[in-house]
Symmetry: C2
Subunit: 177 residues, 2 copies
Amino acid sequence: MTIDVPIIEQLPELSNHDHGGCIAKAIRTAEQLCIDRGARLTPIRRKVLELLWESHRAVKAYDLLDRIKPLETSAKPATVYRALDFLIEQGLIHRVESLNAFIGCNCSDHQHELLLLICNRCQEVEERPALEVMEAVAKEIEQAGFHVHRKAIEIHGLCAQCAQLSTTGLSSQSDLI
Amino acid sequence: MTIDVPIIEQLPELSNHDHGGCIAKAIRTAEQLCIDRGARLTPIRRKVLELLWESHRAVKAYDLLDRIKPLETSAKPATVYRALDFLIEQGLIHRVESLNAFIGCNCSDHQHELLLLICNRCQEVEERPALEVMEAVAKEIEQAGFHVHRKAIEIHGLCAQCAQLSTTGLSSQSDLI
DNA sequence: AACATTATGTTATATTGTAACATTTATAAC
DNA sequence: GTTATAAATGTTACAATATAACATAATGTT
């Protein structure tokens, strides 16, 4: 006999901050930004953004779809991918290339060149502007005569808290990806 | 009436170097490395490696499969993915996360932390050790208390030669990805 | 030769993402 | 307000990417 608990419930929740504040702020920011740009944060787009902000984990498109279906019975893959496309265009979310997944973007100053720290244990993703990294990348690129359109800098490993757990012997075997 | 030419034939070939040398060297290196480690560079694995070295472009798994099928009629997706897994484990190729594709690795000294410059026009991928970038990343990560397993640093844009073509007005419209 | 290990064959299916066209909803022009 | 236009969504179908599970074959070890 097994107990059928969604995997997400089994993961450690390390965002021990007022996450409600994160969500509220993200939505408010998105609303204002869309107003300023004359872009339309429709109910579907808004819902996808909210779902992405329910945690600091990257979420897969079909997981979003499963969450939306009960609310919007007509939702299909295209529904979700279109909303994601819109949110990416507006810089409100990021695609995590190495996970085929998406996260809300909290770059306060709309600086969209950043480094993602992806924890293989708790699955949380931290965005860091990492200005010195960006400068070093810019230099390297200039040397190569390359002209940048887009950067994806994704680091996998263990976040500080999960690394702590590992050294204290509480780790599972699944953190060595 | 259309002429049915494989897309790869329509792309500019900018690797105007002795590419045969690249291939030969890569295979020789792989052979020696596998001997040293007691790993088996079987015909399938070797063929996949050779195909990845036919250009400096990232190649998709199913394109590899199409190329292998005529030679190994029993080849299936798993055939290719297993070979790719092996080659990645051995550090002989890279997965390009942002393309879901693969390239031969030429890090001479088996330094496998590197930056990929991916040209959106000619599709060529340049690996660069980018030591200063890696140092900056290491610092940033240390500040975050993060423990690295794996890095994916992928820059999309135009390589020097394609950028040149763009400014001289020979560009297509498809290079702004 | 017998056994264990590794690699490959094979079937089926899961996951991720797009194309194409129809319909609806919102915005702009009159 | 009605009409024209554009934007967004609905819908169907499918393409592209990837893995699981188990069977068979090849290789290495004793």
